[in-house]
Symmetry: C2
Subunit: 157 residues, 2 copies
C-alpha cells in the first residue's frame, strides 16, 4: 500500500504508515536518522489535531526520555513541512498549525471541536476554475482548500 493509495479515500493519517514513510524518505534522501529526529517524528505522528512548533517543543520537553532542543525541533519541522510531510492547517480564527500529511495534492477537513484532520484528494474544482479563468483572464495554477465541520465522534456528544 503506497502512501497515495492510503489517502485515496478521506481518512486520518495512519501514524505508523506515516512514520515509516518519512523514515524511508530520510534514508533514501541521504538524511541521517537520529534519535532526536525520531523523537520529533513519533511525537508528531501521534497527533490527530493540528499543533504549533512551540506546543510540540513543550510536549517533547515534558514527556518521554529524549528531549531534543528547540533548534532541532524547529529544523525538523521545517524539513518535514517543505518536503510535504506536514500540511499547514489554517484554523477559522486564523492561526496556523501543522498536521501529518503526505506529499502531493491534498486537502483537509478539520473538526472545529476536537481538531481531528481528515485528508482527501478529489476537490472537484475543475468547473469553477474554468469559469473563473474565463471571467478573470488568470492562468490558474493552484489552490488552497480546507473544510471545517464537526466530526462524527463530536456529533455524538
Amino acid at each position: 500500500m503506497s502512501p497515495n493509495e492510503a489517502m485515496s479515500r478521506p481518512a486520518r493519517v495512519n501514524p505508523e504508515a506515516w512514520t515509516n514513510a518519512v523514515r524511508g524518505a530520510w534514508l533514501s534522501g541521504g538524511r541521517r536518522v537520529t534519535e532526536p529526529r525520531l523523537r520529533v517524528l513519533t511525537t508528531v505522528a501521534r497527533y490527530a489535531a493540528p499543533f504549533t512548533a512551540e506546543q510540540l517543543y513543550t510536549d517533547i520537553q515534558t514527556t518521554g526520555d529524549e528531549h531534543p532542543g528547540r533548534a532541532t525541533v524547529y529544523r525538523t519541522l521545517e524539513q518535514l513541512s517543505s518536503a510535504g510531510w506536514l500540511a499547514r492547517i489554517h484554523t477559522q480564527g486564523g492561526e496556523v498549525g501543522y498536521a501529518p500529511s503526505f506529499p502531493g495534492h491534498m486537502h483537509h477537513l478539520v473538526c472545529t471541536n476536537c481538531g481531528i484532520v481528515i485528508a482527501f484528494e478529489d476537490c472537484a474544482l475543475d468547473e469553477l476554475l474554468v469559469r473563473l479563468a474565463a471571467q478573470t483572464n488568470f492562468a490558474i495554477e493552484g489552490h488552497l482548500l480546507q473544510l471545517y465541520g464537526r466530526c462524527a465522534e463530536c456529533r455524538k456528544r
Copy 2:
C-alpha cells in the same frame, strides 16, 4: 451600489468604495474617525497585493505626514480584520497577509507574480460538500478556498 453588489462578479476591491464603506461602518458603529485611523485606512486601501502588519507600519512611518504608532496600526488592523474588512490571504509559501475585502462569504484569487487580489463569491462547492459529508460523517460548517495563478497583466509580459 452596495458593497455586496460591488463584489458579485470577480473583481479587485475598489479603494474609494472600500474606504467609504469602512468609514460608514465606523460611524454607525460608534467608533471614532481619527486622523491616525484614516491614515491606516487610506494606506491599506491603496494596496492591490496582500501586506503584513509590519510592512504597513513601515510604509506608514516612511511616507506621508501622519505617522500613527505601532499600537494604533496593529489595533486598527485587528479591528478591520475581525469586522471582515480585511481578508487573511495565505500565500503558497505559507505566509499570511491581509487584503482589503468586504464582510461576508468571500474567496480570493491571488496573482503569484504581482500579488493582486481578486474577490469572488460563488465557490460551487455544494456537491463536494455533500459527498464528503456522506463519506466522513462530518457536519460541514465552513471552508477556506483560495486560488493562485497569473493575472492577465502579468501574463502579457
